[in-house]
């Protein structure tokens, strides 16, 4: 039972001051084993804050990040799943499923987490699952102003993943969940 927090596109301090208070009250250290961040934090203080949640932190570079040394993409294995991480501004058209699927095949991962569109989405296709945790602060994006703060918590348990989606809609935290299993033989390219 491994808990993985996926979030990104915070754009602190440029477009937002901080995470919403309700999110912050839920994110306490000690519960989460890994944190993966799609990028655009943008400053070191946010990095430090995420580090307090959990020491195992993975970040990829977004176009506004002030830290230049984050990688463009990252892959990690948690339990039976391979996760891929990328900010998403590199993949054109932004947010397009087929292009993201190509990236997923390139990285050879089961779950690809990308951001940049500031909208939560979760797609599946033959090679795997693509999840976009949206923007954790609700910062405006290049595409739209109307953004609900959201992030994703994945509960990885052997061959099954339960994805909990936390969104702040009209000041209330709404939680949804998505459930999927991986078939034991790698559904391949």
């Amino acid at each position: 039972m491994v808990l993985v927090l996926a979030l990104g596109d915070l754009h602190i301090p440029h477009r937002a001051a901080d995470l919403p208070a309700k999110f912050k009250s839920m994110l306490v250290p000690g519960k989460i084993q890994h944190v993966i961040c799609t990028g655009n934090l943008c400053i070191k203080e946010v990095h430090d804050y995420l580090k307090t949640l959990c020491p195992d932190l993975h970040i990829t570079r977004g176009e506004y990040d002030e830290e230049t040394r984050y990688p463009e993409t990252k892959t990690l294995t948690i339990g039976q799943f391979k996760l891929g991480l990328c900010h998403g501004h590199q993949v054109i058209p932004w947010g397009d499923l087929d292009s993201l699927a190509m990236l997923q095949r390139q990285l050879d991962v089961d779950i690809l987490v990308t951001g940049h569109t500031h909208q939560f989405t979760a797609y599946k296709h033959e090679a795997g699952v693509v999840i976009n945790p949206g923007s954790a602060t609700g910062a405006y994006s290049s595409i739209t102003y109307d953004v609900n703060p959201s992030f994703v918590l994945m509960d990885i348990d052997a061959l099954r993943v339960v994805v909990y989606v936390y969104e702040l809609i009209d000041g209330e935290v709404k939680v949804d969940k998505i459930d999927f299993k991986k078939t034991t033989t790698q559904s391949a390219n």
Partner: protein, 476 residues
């Protein structure tokens, strides 16, 4: 009526331990044990220890019994009843001055009872236990003199005394068949982590399959389902299983730490052997389940010490080869044993009538009744607050004051006394004080505290005899 003088029965040569026997080379116990040797301490360890090296690694205070048997005893006490009337015995007074120190090398368990008596008691016990309907009073009487180390006897007697097994032997299989699966069910229910719980709930709740476990086939947006009732991992709600899980994690960590520290000198519990690890696991699981089933008291440091002897005895019962069964038995007996002593562990009850403070006060009163001079010296003159030493004595049921085999003997008496373990415990504590009275009377605060917090190993049957006498005296 103030007792200004030391009572006569106290001046008995009985209370002095023998001076240390000449140090012979201590051969490892396992080579010199003969089967008739009824010495309780090392025998039980050797016979029943899971790994044979434990006998060699037993702490020094318990030497191999064969060595002790061989030499003549300087002050032989054949049986307590004969020597009661003896007045101050000059030889014994010499012994007493260094003897109260309880020469840790002398056998702490065999004095006072010759081996023939031991054998006869074992025979009596076995006979009693083989009846169809066991006379509990008789078992209590026999057990209070100390349970001999025959295979499995202590385990059965303790189970009877704690009420786990009924007195009618025919009912034993049904009782066990009832209780053991109950424990197994507890394990299954309470040790699941929240993911599994959520999964099982979903399986039972959803009839169709596509809500749960969509495989990665096909293409499109993944369907979302609403999360009901705050059942998500970050939930801070009180009723959320996730929240409870994370709160329990703290307790589980503490239990883990304490279990690892239990009896580091015994190979049964500590070390890297797979058996030691499985024993520690069993202890841990029992404590976790107890903590979950008792939200009022949860886990308090010290419960592991009370659990250890129980598990040791039941696990080493040759009649019961299955460790899972021993675990189940231990759990129920632990619950039973602790039910009498729960109040000691509850912090809110500390200052109440049933709490640990009042128990300590009762001990103090008991001492005052039986030995006012000592009481006055301890509490008034040297200002030794009984809480400093008695707290550990009482809450841990004397497991930390004596070495392991001795504490098993003390527990025999504790559990078998019809007055109940609480009262007996107080009497034994009082006896412990009285036995070292000479040194206490001669000491100041520091030395007294040091003595009482590191109680010298002494002759257990003496101790229990004194404790028994205290009961008679207060009744008379």
């Amino acid at each position: 009526m103030a007792k200004n003088h030391v009572p006569d029965w106290l001046n008995n040569s009985l209370w002095s331990s023998r001076s240390p026997p000449p140090q012979q080379s201590l051969t490892p116990a396992k080579t010199s044990i003969d089967s008739e040797d009824m010495n309780r301490s090392t025998n039980s360890v050797v016979k029943s220890s899971v790994s044979t090296e434990s006998s060699v690694n037993m702490p020094v205070p318990v030497p191999p019994p064969a060595v002790i048997r061989a030499e003549p005893r300087p002050v032989p006490p054949p049986s307590p009843k004969v020597e009661i009337i003896g007045p101050l015995n000059s030889s014994s007074s010499n012994c007493r001055s260094d003897g109260e120190n309880g020469s840790s090398d002398s056998s702490t368990t065999t004095s006072g009872i010759s081996s023939t008596e031991d054998i006869s008691r074992q025979a009596q016990l076995s006979q009693e236990l083989s009846r169809k309907i066991i006379n509990l009073g008789e078992v209590r009487r026999l057990a209070s003199q100390g349970i001999p180390d025959g295979p499995g006897i202590r385990a059965i007697v303790w189970k009877l005394l704690l009420g786990y097994l009924p007195t009618e032997k025919a009912l034993w299989p049904t009782e066990l068949a009832k209780k053991r699966p109950e424990y197994k069910q507890f394990k299954e229910e309470l040790l699941m982590n929240p993911s599994e719980i959520a999964r099982r709930l979903e399986k039972s709740a959803s009839l169709e399959n596509d809500g749960t476990g969509t495989d990665i086939e096909g293409k499109g947006v993944l369907s979302r389902s609403k999360v009901t009732q705050e059942e998500h991992p970050l939930s801070l709600g009180k009723s959320s299983i996730w929240n409870q899980f994370f709160q329990d994690t703290e307790i589980i960590e503490q239990i883990d730490r304490d279990v690892k520290r239990t009896h580091p000198d015994l190979h049964f519990f500590s070390g890297d052997t797979p058996s030691a690890k499985s024993n520690q696991d069993a202890l841990r699981i029992i404590l976790i389940i107890f903590a979950k089933l008792n939200p009022g008291i949860r886990y308090v440091q010290g419960m592991n010490e009370i659990l250890a002897p129980l598990f040791y005895v039941f696990r080493n019962d040759p009649n019961e080869e299955d460790p899972a069964m021993a675990e189940a038995d231990t759990f129920f007996c632990f619950v039973e044993l602790l039910s009498g002593f729960r109040d000691n562990f509850c912090q809110q009850l500390d200052n109440s009538v049933v709490g640990i403070r009042s128990t300590i006060t009762r001990l103090s009163q008991l001492l005052k009744e039986h030995d006012e001079e000592l009481w006055r010296h301890l509490e008034v003159t040297t200002n030794v607050n009984p809480q400093f030493y008695a707290f550990r004595w009482i809450t841990l049921l004397l497991t930390q004051e004596f070495n392991f085999p001795d504490s098993l003997l003390i527990w025999d008496t504790l559990l078998s006394d019809p007055e109940g373990p609480q009262e007996t415990l107080l009497r034994i504590c009082c006896a412990m004080l009285i036995i070292v009275r000479r040194r206490l009377l001669a000491g100041d605060f520091t030395s007294n505290l040091k003595l009482l917090q590191n109680y010298p190993s002494s002759n257990i049957s003496h101790l229990l005899y004194v404790a028994n006498k205290l009961r008679v005296k207060s009744a008379g």
